[in-house]
Amino acid sequence: MRIFQASEDVTSAAHALDARSQLESVAQYRRNVENGQDFVAAADAKLTSLVDLVNEIDALALSVDNDHVTPEDRNFAAQEMNQKLESLLEYANAQFGDRYLFSGHGTTTAPYNAVRDTNGRITSVEESHGSISGQIYRTIDENETVAINITGTRLFVPQGEANSAADIFYVVAQLRDTIANDNTPPEGQEGTLSTHVLRDNLDVIRKRIIDQQTYLGSLGQRLESKLSDLQEVEIGWTDRLEQAQGADTTELVSRLATEEGVYNALLAIQSRILTKSLIDYIG
């Protein structure tokens, strides 16, 4: 029997109010999870492309790192490497909707700005704001929050390591310049800027990116699993709400059947009365 006032059944009313509130919260957590999943999926897709790009950069560097390649071919390769660097910058500044995916808390500003030479070539890449390392969270359950973003500092340029072997833009720009210089690093910097050293640096960076991608994968699974848990919790609370406040279906059906019987009987009586005329009664 549905209750309309707490005084009709205080215990049931308390359970009903609790269940309603829990259902509201669970529905909100589900929205939070789904919202987080969208963001994670977008970042994950972008990281897959980013790893591909890093592989292409590595393959390009490898292809020109032998004695059979002509200076002209290396020049072409350097130009292609420059395009890859531009693509890399685009990935770093990738957006999901209006938000920059890897910009930390600065979601409305592109996280990286290129510093270019007079020919328009990227010489270095700088962080455009100071909150790139900011983590974005979603509340996915009571007192359970989870970071859903991968920051630029975890992917491209670790904090305080700009223009170093850990800076992907720096490494690729140096690769480009070394290749353009007929695969020859500047004198005295063979130990840091030779193609194979730079490729080793790139490999470390690639592993870093793959680690982050793995994190996103496991985060995606965690969110999926949480969503499933929340759906079950929601079913449980819905049952409790129905028990506490919902209509008693069996009783309603039974009452409906009784009412229907009475109604049909009345119709039958009425139809018989209506077939008689006043004369029948007078006679």
Binding site: Q5, L17, S21, E24, G104, H105, S131, I136, Y137
Partner: protein, 458 residues
């Protein structure tokens, strides 16, 4: 030695008595449905015998008394039951009004609106750069604040309304006590002159019962047939005097509560039973308790949210701004701060400046739902418990009302079986009286014939 004239006198007296008996039966029968009517009973006795010498053959029948059938102990019990039953009925009615105000299980109740408020912060946390999420949050927060304020205002209005009801009840009391005092005079006068005053007594008993609905009373009958009526140990009706209950607004009380005093007493009177007792309970305990709890919620809730919000940064870089008005003293002034009302970009979601994607503050405020508490219960539970407690008290009042109603009904049924008119019984008595009357007439006729016989002797 008896004479024919003595026999004739017996017959005449019997005719008169049976005629009176029929009159009583007629009165009972016609008042069978009259509220407060007590059945009359004509008690007969043997008339004082004539001094006739050796053979005492008696002198017929006479009226011993004409009395109304009433059990004073039962009356007393019914008055007490009426007072208790009236108290619980009024309590149930008053608490029902409170439940209607909260509408705890309906749509847009306080609990739902509070859920919406928390969810508004979650939505903002999901979209911290958004103005739209801020508009939604502002509107939800306004709806919550306005509803708390409305409920609070309606409870305050119920305090006012209860004051009005107390005044009305006091007026009704005065009307009843004046009427009882008036009847006291009439009854004493009638009975002093030997007249029968049963109808007047019935009227007075009815008024006394109506008085017991308003408050608990004690009644004491005096030797002259008048009654004294007491409330709280003080007499309010004494013979022809009725003490007026004064209902005055306490000017020194900021709530301007109506205070009752008896006559010219310098002390206020606090009724404990009947409708007035329930009204006092509602006005002085139930409603203030709920009002205070809403006040406390408004203060502590707004303070908890503000404490976090002032640490955050708005979309426009603002910092140190309250979300709710800073000087909330209770539910009556529960409102959003003017900054937030005028410009939603003052709503802070970030803990750091220049970080539009930072949602940490919005998350922290959303988590207050489970973290912040009043007296060990969460804010949600605190707010939810207010109408639940009202419901619980009303359920208890309904139970008490039904129990006391049944007790009263039982007592009333018992009284009806004693004082009520049983038409079957009255009809049987009517036939009996009619036959007795016919027999008496036959005696008179026979004596007449005997006298004719004597007179015709030559």
């Amino acid at each position: 030695m008896s004479s024919l004239s003595n026999i004739l006198e017996q017959g005449r007296r019997a005719l008169q008595v049976q005629q009176l008996a029929m009159q009583v039966i007629g009165h009972n029968t016609t008042n069978a449905g009259t509220v407060g009517y007590s059945r009359r009973r004509l008690d007969l006795q043997t008339a004082v015998p004539y001094e006739t010498g050796q053979w005492d053959t008696g002198s017929g029948v006479d009226v011993l008394r004409l009395a109304r059938v009433r059990d004073t102990l039962l009356d007393n019990q019914i008055r007490n039951s009426t007072s208790v039953s009236s108290y619980w009925s009024a309590r149930e009615d008053q608490l029902g009004r409170v439940e209607e105000v909260f509408n705890a299980l309906g749509d847009n109740n306080l609990g739902n609106l509070l859920d919406d408020f928390w969810n508004g912060w979650h939505d903002l946390a999901n979209d911290p750069e958004s103005e739209t999420a801020r508009y939604a949050l502002r509107d939800r927060s306004t709806a919550l604040a306005n509803t708390v304020k409305r409920v609070h205002g309606q409870l305050e209005a119920q305090v006012e309304e209860t004051n009005g009801r107390i005044t009305d009840a006091a007026d009704k009391m005065n009307t009843l006590t004046a009427a009882i005092a008036g009847l006291n005079v009439q009854i004493a006068r009638s009975e002093l002159s030997g007249e029968e005053a049963s109808d007047l007594r019935d009227s007075r008993d009815l008024l006394v019962e109506q008085l017991s609905e308003i408050t608990d009373i004690a009644v004491q009958e005096q030797g002259d047939g008048s009654i004294n009526v007491y409330v709280g140990g003080q007499v309010i009706v004494q013979r022809d005097l009725a003490l007026a209950v004064q209902a005055d607004v306490a000017t020194s009380d900021p709530k301007r509560a109506v205070v009752l005093t008896l006559g010219t007493s310098p002390f206020s009177w606090t009724p404990t039973g009947g409708e007035l007792g329930a009204l006092y309970e509602q006005r002085d305990r139930e409603l203030p308790d709920m009002i205070n709890r809403l006040d406390r919620f408004a203060r502590e809730f707004s303070s908890a949210v503000n404490q976090l919000h002032v640490q955050g940064y708005g979309l426009n870089g603002s910092h140190g701004h309250e979300f709710f008005s800073a000087d909330i003293t209770g539910a009556a002034d529960f409102a959003l701060s003017a900054d937030i009302l005028n410009d939603v970009s003052f709503i802070a979601a970030a803990s750091t400046n220049d970080a539009p994607g930072d949602n940490s503050l919005a998350i922290a405020i959303g988590q207050l739902q489970h973290e912040s508490s009043i007296d060990g219960v969460t804010l949600d539970e605190w707010l939810r418990n207010v109408p639940l407690e009202a419901g619980s008290r009303r359920a208890a009042a309904i139970q008490q009302r039904d129990i006391e109603g049944a007790v009263l009904e039982n007592a009333a049924n018992r009284r009806a079986s004693i004082s009520g008119v049983n038409l079957d019984e009255e009809m049987a008595k009517l036939i009996e009286a009619q036959k007795a009357y016919e027999a008496a007439a036959k005696i008179v006729q026979t004596v007449d014939e005997m006298m004719q016989t004597i007179l015709s002797l030559k």
